[in-house]
Structures are given as C-alpha cells and as structure tokens.
Amino acid sequence: MSTGNMNLTLKVWRQKNNKTKGALVDYKLADISPDMSFLEMFDVLNEQLINKGEEPVVFDHDCREGICGMCSMFINGRPHGPKDLVTTCQLHMRSFKDGDTIVVEPWRAAAFPVVKDLTVDRSAFDRVIAAGGFISVNTGNAQDANNLPIPKMQADAAFEAAACIGCGACVATCKNASAMLFVSAKISQLALLPQGQPERYRRVQSMVAQMDAEGFGNCTNTGACEAECPKGISLENIARMNRDFASAKFISEETV
C-alpha cells in the first residue's frame, strides 16, 4: 500500500511481557515513502505482520502530533531518533536513507519496566507529580485572575518549563536513568510563579523523595537530557531544583 521506494532493515525489540526475556528481531520493509512518519512506517510493518498471521509490534503512541508524550522509541541509540526537538511521531522517513538498518528499542530504565515490545511503564512520573507537583487550590477558591499580575518574563520562563510533555526521553538517554530534568521542570514552573510560593520548599522535598523512591538515578551533569529533550527543556531547571532543595533544608519550617 505504500508509495515510496525506500528499502529498510529494522531490528526491533520484541518482548512478550515483563516476565520473559526480549530480543532484537530483524524485519525487511520495502517501498517505504519518505513522506511517512516513523510511526506510519511501523503501521506498514504491523499490517504486514498481521497479514502473515503474526502478532504486531506493540508501541505507545496517541496524538501523533508531538504533544501527548506517549510515543517513546529509542532509535539507533537516541530517544525519538536522529532529529533534534522532535518526538518519534514527528520524525519522518526522509531523515533516513534507502538501504538503512534501523535499530528500535524501548526506553531502558529500572524505573520504566518494559510492558511489551516497545511499550514501557512510566507511571513513576505520575507518582512523582502526585507527591507534590501541584498547587493546593480547590475548585472555587480562586480570586480574579488579574488580581495577581505576573511579570511577562517570569510567566514566559514558567511556560517554557511547563512545556515538558512527560515522555521520559530524558530518563532514557541518561546513563544514570535520572529523572531530574522532568522533575525539575515541574518544580521550576511552580517555583517561578507567585502562586507556587507557599508550598515551594515542601514541594521540592516531597517530589525529590518520591523520585528517589522510584529508583531513578542521580544527575552527573552530562547534559544528554537537555540535548535529547523534544521540547528543549533547559538544564537550568535542574540547577534551580538543586538550589531549592538545598535551601529547603534551611528555610522550610515544615518537615516532609
């Protein structure tokens, strides 16, 4: 059904479930169009597998426009593949050449166990947010939005941190499987805003504690997370988080 002329060899991680061992399996694909997205190329592969009576490759994906954060393929050793600032779903086959061999693996981290094939369990991220990634305000308690002016530069900086899509590429690329870029992005967003001040130091302690409990590694300032982040989340957030975490020990009168 495809309309292009690229021929590819795929080496795809297949693993039945989290109780069995996985392995790379080779697949040949012909007539791939350079206009296809990477996931559409996988659709072609899966259609072929189904037509042969085999089980398709299971992978996470949903919006296919780079915002939901669900797609998560480790392509030729890089999360989301060779292009900067795009997710797997926005990567197109024109970024590859006819005859290429492409290795596709799941995110690899102790805190992200493989569920099946290329799908992993990222619920650790949700638990980190549940530990403190919010402002405690019940519905109906809000004052008029314009009663609290926020300087544009500050609001813009908070927005940039808030652009994180929670995909986990930062963890997947880090040699320590650290989640510091993800955690610090949420901490920064709220620390930069006046609404976030009352819980600022309590928040950083709770979230960091949960991050550690989930088994994510520490940060050794390599910067791979920033380089691979599809949304360009900055390392400065980690610095801010570390400052707040250190300050919390002195400033906070609350114990977590």
Binding site: T3, S33, P56, E65, G66, M70, K116, S123, Q143, F159
Partner: protein
Amino acid sequence: MSEINSNIPEGELTQKWTKFKSSVALVNPSNKRSIEVIIVGSGLAGASAAATLAEMGYKVKCFCFQDSPRRAHSIAAQGGINAAKNYQNDGDSTYRLFYDTIKGGDYRAREANVHRLAEVSANIIDQCVAQGVPLAREYGGLLDNRSFGGTQVQRTFYAAGQTGQQLLLGAYSALERQIGMGKVEMYTRHEMLEVVKIDGKARGIIARNLITGEIERHFGHAVVLGTGGYGNVFYLSTNAMGSNVTAAWKAHKQGAYFANPCYTQIHPTCIPVSGDHQSKLTLMSESLRNDGRIWVPKKKDDTRKASEIPEDERDYYLERRYPAFGNLVPRDVASRAAKERCDAGYGVGASKLAVYLDFKANTERYGKIEASKAGNHNPDKETCMRLGTEVIKEKYGNLFDMYAQITGENPYETPMRIYPAVHYTMGGLWVDYNLMTSVEGLYCTGEANFSDHGANRLGASALMQGLADGYFVLPYTIGAYLSKEISVKAISTDHPAFVEAEAKAKGILDTLINIKGTKSVDHFHKRLGHIMWEKCGMARNAQGLNEAIQEIRALRADFWSNVRVPGTADELNTELEKAGRVADFIELGELMCIDALNRNESCGGHFREEYQTEEGEALRDDVNYAYVAAWEFKEGVNFELHKEELKFENIKVAQRSYK
C-alpha cells in the same frame, strides 16, 4: 416519536443557574464519604470533574485508556479558551458570549445550557491561573487575549500554541493531588466496555485492564462519561489515534440517547493527505487565516509551481465570494468553499486535493512597515520580504516549523498547501440541563455530550465547555441526584447485573478473537472512513446517504465474519482494542447517515446539497428542524427518533450571512 424533557429550570434565562445552585439539594460531608462516583476519561472534562468531586469529599474512581491521565487528547488543543472577562474593555459580556455561541452554532443549541456556559467561563480562567497554568501575559503582568473566528471581541486566553496542554496539565495536577491523598483511585490503561444498570439506574462499569486483559467490575452510585468525540469514525481526522466512541456507544446501547450525530466539524486548515499510508491529519491553527490568503489557479489542472503562476491567474475565491469576511469566514463556510474548488478541478499539489494558503502579500506588507519604522520609506521588494519574514516567524514560527517537518517544504518560500479535515464532533450523548443522559445516574460531560455548540462550534470554545462541565457544572448538578442516593449502600459486584454485563463484554472480545478472518482491523476502519468522508462528510445528499447506509451495513457483516485479530484476550493486545472500537464506529457511522438523512435542511457543519441558497449557502429550515434529534438504540442496530424542540426566547433567530 416522543417529546423528551430537558429539565431546564423555570425562570428568567439569566437567573436559572443562580437559582438552581442555591436551591439544589446538598449531600452532607459524612454521606459524601460513602458515595462513590466513577469517571471515565481523564481529559479536561473528566480530570476536572474527578478532582473537584474528590475535593468535595466523594469517593472517586477515574479511568483512562492511556498510560497516564496527562495524555488525554485535550492536550493537543492549540488556539485558546474563551471567557467573558472583558479584560480588553471591548464590550464583552456574558450575554455576548452566549449570543455568539448560539449564532455560531447556527441556532441549534439549547439557550439555558449555553447561557450557563457563558456565566461560568470567567471562573475557569481564575481557577486555572490559581493552579499555576502559565497563560500568556502582557508586559504589565496582566493576562493577554487574542481574537478568534465568529466574534468581534478579544476574549480568547491562550498559552502560545499549547493552550490545551497547559489547561490539561492544570487539571491533571489537581487530579494527581487527589490521587496522592488517596481520594481518587486512578485506573490507567483501562478501557470501559459496558455500563452496568440496576433497576434502571447506572450503578457501575465493566472495564478491561489493557495490560493483563483482565475484565474488572466497578461499582459507583453514579457514572460520568467524559470520553471525548467520535471524529475517528472518519479514520482520518485530527483526533488522537486512540480517540474512540466505545464508552459513549456502550452507554447508548444501554438506553442513553445519542443526539445530533451528524453534526461534524470539518476544520478548513489542515495539512493535506500525502498518501495511502497516512494515519492521521494535523491541524494548522485557525489563527493563520489572519495573515494567509487562500487561492487556487484560475486554470483547471494547472501543473505550474505556485511561484510561476502570475497574480492575475490566481483565484482568491474566499475574497471573491465573501468580500465582507474574506479569508476569515467561519470554519464550515471556508471548508465547503475549498472542497467546491477542488471538486471542480482547480485543486493543487500531487493529489489535487489542496488549496494554497499564501503569506506573501502580508509578509511584504509587514516588511514595508518594519522598513518604515527603521526610516527606510522606499524599500525594495527583497528588503520587504526579508523584514516581513521575521514578523511572520515571530507570530507563527512554531506552526511553520511543524508544517516544514511534516511536508518537507519550506512555507516561508512556497505557499502552504491545506485542505479541510475532520476535527470535532458537536453531536454526542443527549443530556438534560443537569448533564444527565436518558439513563438515570449516567452523566456525560465535554465533547462526548451534545449540549452547547449546536451545529457548529466556534474556535476556543471546546476547552471552555470541557472545563465548565467538569469544574463548575457537574459537581453541582450531580448532587441533585446523589442526595437521593445516600441510603443506597455500595452494591456488591457479585450482583447478577454485573455478572451479566461482564459476560456480555467477554462475549464480544471472544467473538472478535475467534473470527480469525483475513483482513486487518485497519482495513475495515479505512473502508468505513472512506464511505463516511465521501457520503457523510462536508456535503451530503439523500442519494449518497442512502447508499452509505447500505454500504455500512454490508461492511458490518463483512467485519464480523472476516476481521483478523491476532493474539489472545488475556494480554496486552492493541489489535483487539482497535477491533472493539471499530465495531462501535461502524454502528455509529450508520446512525450518523440516518441522522443526516433525516435532517432535511443545511445548518452549521451539516450541509445537505439539496438545501442551499442560489449562492450555494446553507439553508436552514427553522419551521421543521429546530429540534435536537435524540436517537434511541433498538435491538438489532435500529434507531428510534425522539425530538427535543429548541425554544429561542432570548435570541432572534436569523440567517447567517458573511457576504
């Protein structure tokens, strides 16, 4: 056919909601602790409701099919959220937002619901800012606004091109807070497969754990569906791949009426289909029509590049047909005009199913202004284009980048190619004023219900409705029902109704696995999408709809004997998930065609070719069709029509004109 009761409170329009809120029965805190509410869906409408009900003290269970509630498709909304704040001092008011929404919906929405929506719109912005949602601000530190289609005021709040993401993350953080406190039990990677009814009331759901394949029974005193729209019935749409109608359709089969299914919004500016492999379509924000001029060549089947076609051989057809609104006509009008040109043989690109969106004229104009600011009052064209490109980049840079990424073309040099695509569905489960469906105790919020947008939704109103329902409407209206349920103890899931519902859900899964046919699920989904797009898409006629109904019935029979679902039901099986959803889409597709055939008029997103003015505009029939078509499911995939008459007591009904 029978009349149905929408339970709109008595009294003057502007007082209805206030009076309702102050007189509705309450549930005391100790009783709330023993009342359980099930919420299906974790988008704006689901997450906001789950968080708010838990804050109020109810025991909440929330379900989503994604791996995290933060992935719900609300996240992909780009443009903004409307609110009648009047921060710009441009004459906005609750009434004006109400009026614009009713008119934009082509006079097919319920007045009382829309007025309530306008009333609570301002609270949404306050709530989101309090949660730390970083909405765009001006240098003075106050919130910024922009314009959107169908209005004359600036009431749209936004966060760059990621408004949906930021609002959803706000609702998600409120939800996660309640999860952390143990007040919401969250079930991710779970799909609802059945509503459980006991003595006519919704009392729970059957859900499948998508990882283990296990079928689970969950009790609730009430069930809320915030499960989104059904645009994926067309296969290709701007919806996420997983967006589906299954929860709403199962509810429909349990007695919830499905209202106005034929009202579909086709968005005019999307990136065109590039080949058979296409899995989804990507929207280019409506805001681009502020500076982009839409055109096709005057010559049929013109194969020249856009740059080689001289100015006098271009047809700026929107400016020609609608001189007063030009390129800024509403979505339904712009979409139909593009289709008309392409059908007539003037389309561009390899597929000939595209029109140009050209920024050149405005780039040059901006460049001239910039040069003038810098003291150059007679700039050459090259300077203008260079300076103007910078202005365009600042306004739309992220959209231009996305376009370049997907098409491999540079939109700063050649005009964008765009074509309409399915984007939103105004129809959905019928609900009364309380957001309760025709099944007692079963509620529906957000895009999944039919209530507020009539036959056409205005830009930036979907986010408003989702959050209005979840934060500010449902938490009050559901109390009216739950206050009568306080003596009901949690019902054991061993109750025969649960056993029966589970057996039914399992039966469907087993059947799908055991067909062992020869064609993939996608094969059927694509065929359904093709029928729907050709015959129940941007333009419909009686002949085509009758054909479509027959074709869909044949497709249904083919599906149930020839679909191939590999694997088993007791494991993560994405093909099985898709098969269940496509089975429901096939039945819904038939109902959409039946509804479109029944509605012998054109209104909003529903255009019947037989009913148009001499100039080719939509022709409403207010005498015979000013009603909500609410369909009841009957055994054997049959449908019975019920009508809810729409009464316009506060707005004068008029023909829309953009000439």
